[in-house]
């Protein structure tokens, strides 16, 4: 009885949700973050509801199953625009973004009040390895540690450290696709010594990101520059949100999102930029390191390349932009700090251009080539560049490494704009239910 009273009180809180992002799942995140009834958490242990957003490709099913089982009871799942796994009986599926917050709140209160059962565990209840040893208490066996104590080997791989050459234990692990500090869908195998990255190998590339439809139409016919520049600013503001959230500036990240939601030609970035400079984001937070060399900058293109000093921007070849007096903004240095300055400068520039273009009613004139926020799109769409991480990140401390990951926009572009279902090519890699592989 006391438990029921506690649960009723518990159902009054905001819903703690752990998001598992599938293809095109990133967009709904921005909606949920601003909702006061929902709290997005970083660790599944802190959540009561698992939200599977978007379609998860088949090669990431295993990771998703692992995360699903890592939530503590009682918990439930909610599926958004994705097919629930068949062996979860009362899994609800929602397809409409507007009713998603209320659906989450309903699921959570039903769970707390006992009207909905806690989701069953999917994976078998077995330790990762049987504990091997020869004696009765597991002693003996081969190697210094007697086999696999408590189900996992002890860390024994000793290599010389990158920075000071000391030979201590390295920890190798795979940081999966559902770690929020990574671009959605990216998974990497990392070796750490202490908290310094020794090696980094991207194993699964991030999902292709979808752009605003205006970039696709701009390749075929002239579009008003105001519209395309606002879409560009919105994209950069979403990236800014992730970076600020990682740096611990909750309030600033939410104001960046709100700015993106209500973006118009009268919006201004000054308040946010002033706050970021004054709060020490550019001097004190973990944003040194991750410098792009000239060849790497050329590979990734876009704002990251301009932050490294490469002043190439397809917009300078467009008559409409030339009329507005456009010239590419550049920084020197090419490290994480420069990239964040560049993002802020480009948002500012886009708002400025949009204001002018709306007043003078200017449209783009060049077709077939467009500068997307991710990079230049001439004949081929910008491709995934996560191999850059394998070169950039070894030798960086953990916080600096993750800040570099947040500042680089490496995901390739999807072939369909936001708001459409995934095309045939990505449908081929999905398929199957959660219980194979």
């Amino acid at each position: 009885m006391a438990v029921n009273w506690l649960r009723t009180l518990a159902s009054r809180r905001s819903v703690p949700v752990f998001p598992v992002l599938g293809m095109q799942g990133d967009e709904l995140l921005q909606q949920l973050v601003l909702s006061p009834d929902i709290e997005l958490v970083d660790s599944p242990r802190h959540a009561s509801v698992l939200l599977v957003a978007g379609e998860i490709p088949a090669d990431r099913f295993e990771f998703a199953r692992r995360v699903h089982d890592q939530l503590p009871s009682p918990f439930t799942t909610l599926w958004f625009r994705g097919e629930p796994w068949s062996h979860l009986e009362n899994a609800t599926r929602i397809d409409d973004l507007d009713i998603l917050p209320t659906a989450l709140v309903t699921a959570y209160s039903e769970l707390m009040e006992g009207r909905r059962e806690s989701s069953p565990r999917i994976l078998p209840d077995k330790p990762p390895n049987p504990w091997e040893g020869e004696g009765d208490f597991g002693q003996g066996g081969e190697g210094m540690m007697g086999g696999v104590p408590y189900g996992r080997p002890m860390a024994m791989n000793m290599e010389n450290d990158i920075r000071d050459g000391l030979t201590l234990d390295s920890l190798t692990f795979r940081l999966g696709p559902f770690f929020f500090a990574f671009p959605p869908g990216m998974s990497a195998e990392i070796t750490l010594q202490g908290d310094l990255v020794q090696t980094w190998q991207t194993q699964l590339v991030p999902y292709p990101q979808s752009l605003d439809p205006v970039f696709f139409t701009a390749r075929e016919r002239p579009v008003p520059i105001a519209e395309i520049e606002l879409a560009r600013a919105r994209h950069h503001l979403h990236r800014l949100y992730r970076g600020l959230h990682l740096a611990g500036l909750e309030g600033a990240s939410l104001s960046a999102l709100r700015l993106a939601q209500n973006l118009s030609t009268t919006s201004t970035l000054d308040g946010l930029r002033r706050y970021l400079s004054r709060s020490g984001f550019f001097r004190l937070a973990a944003i040194k390191g991750g410098e792009l060399g000239p060849e790497q900058a050329r590979r990734i293109g876009g704002p990251a390349a301009r932050a490294a000093g490469l002043d190439e921007d397809l917009r300078s070849g467009d008559a409409g932009y030339r009329r507005l007096g456009f010239s590419p903004v550049c920084q020197t240095g090419g490290d994480t700090c420069a990239r964040w300055w560049q993002v802020l400068a480009e948002i500012d520039q886009s708002l400025h251009l949009a204001r002018q273009a709306e007043r003078d009613d200017v449209t783009t004139s060049e077709l077939g080539r467009i500068e997307t926020p991710r990079g230049p799109w001439c004949a081929k769409r910008p491709e995934d560049a996560s191999a850059l991480f394998d070169e950039l990140l070894p030798g960086l401390e953990w916080g600096d490494a993750l800040a570099t990951v947040a500042s680089l926009d490496v995901a390739g572009l999807a072939d369909q704009p936001v708001g459409t279902r995934p095309s045939g090519e990505s449908r081929a890699i999905r398929g199957g239910t959660g219980n194979d592989v």
């Binding site: 518990a10 503590p72 996992r152 959230h245 740096a247 611990g248 020490g280 953990w398």
Partner: protein
Amino acid sequence: MFSELFLPVLMVIFMLIVGGYAVAVLDRLVASALGTSQDGGIWLAPMARGAWLLTQHANATEAPDWRAWRLAPALYLALAAGGLAVVPWSASLVATDLVTSVVLWGSVEALATVVIFLHGWSANSLLALIGGYRYVALGLSYILISMFVLIGVALPAESLQFTQVVASQAELWNVIRQPLGLPLFLIVGLGMTFWGPLNLADSTDLAGGTASEISGPPRLVWDMARAAMLVAFSGVAATAFLGGWLGPWLPGPLWMAIKMLAVLFVLLLLGRLLPRLAPERCVTLMWVVLLPLSFIDLVWAGIGALL
């Protein structure tokens, strides 16, 4: 016997509960003032969250050090209680009026580092481990600044007892007499409770760090302990720099509560406004800038005490 043993315990437990709740409510107030959207009523939300944590199952990892893992939040809470026990609410109203309370507070700070590290290490999980080890660098750095600043406060009082320290502020509060002291001590407070810019232990880039593997009742005790440590720290700051129970019309304990709330408010505000420092920059800053500043503060305090 009753008043000597039972009453102090009651006082401290009352302060822990009320203080913890006050921190939760104040944090929500600050967050909503700064634009982070909050749910429901700010008065009910901490209770709802506590109830949720009590009904959630406690998490386990594959091979943790069970005793240390379950002890760590309780130990952190006990350390906060130890700090609260030496905070004086008036000249006679102290839970335990130790002659060496400054030394005791120093040991509470040092042991806090140990306990937070233990919490991260005992889970035997990578993200928690990194959080614990990273925090120790900060923990070892702030302890010196804190001690020099508190010794500076003890100089005019000619005693290491907090009641004497407050009594020595009867003409002028230490925040004016030793201007460097309170800002440095606030930074120490942020470090001791790994709050805001100095949150190297439970940070967002480690998916919660030492708290990434805990859920349910242990997480409730850990969060309560953090709030309690904030309260204890603000009590010591109000005692050492803001004149404790001294003040014109209101009774002593009420002044003490007001000053503690003020310090709490500043800490929570700083926690929300500033980004998280990189560990390297943090350690360099503390040793190269803040520690020499605390030396200057000590010399200033010495000269002031002699004049």
